[in-house]
Amino acid sequence: MKLARVVSHVVSTQKHPFYRGQKTFMVKPLRLDGTPEGPTFVAVDRVQSGVGDWVLIMQEGSSARAMFGEAEAPVRSVIVGIVDNVDLHVEGK
């Protein structure tokens, strides 16, 4: 799973039926120290997160489909947790 920051709310009208009623966010992946790493992507929110939150992202297709109970949902990235705190211990720092 990935640590990321919610950047913006993605609003769309014309979309695949699966996305009706789903909240989608643009998220920026983060290293454990909070610095951005890698390209921004879109994720479906399942935990009522908001812009600015640090979140936990699950990126596995069949797990996502199981979560939504839909066998043919075109979804992979799902926000599955809001991160309160990351307690990182690195030797020598």
Binding site: H16, Y19, T40, V51, R76
Partner: protein
Amino acid sequence: MIPGRVVGRLVASQALAALEGVKFLLVQPVDDALADAGAPVVACDAIGANVGEAVFMAQGREATFPLPNTFNPADLTIVAIVDHVTR
């Protein structure tokens, strides 16, 4: 899912039967400021997107589900047209 902007069309008159009737679009991936990020890609269209529109795409196995014949060799499919993003 990958955000992008449709920048063109691609026509492949000879393609695998499973991709018959599928519209291909050229999509420029974008970052959180909707600025270009990386090289353009070819994506299948499942919702009727047009050139100039912001979209997001499903990748990998999930890209196959929205197409008419679900047993197909697609790995990138447009699943939504983005109206706007709010910070």
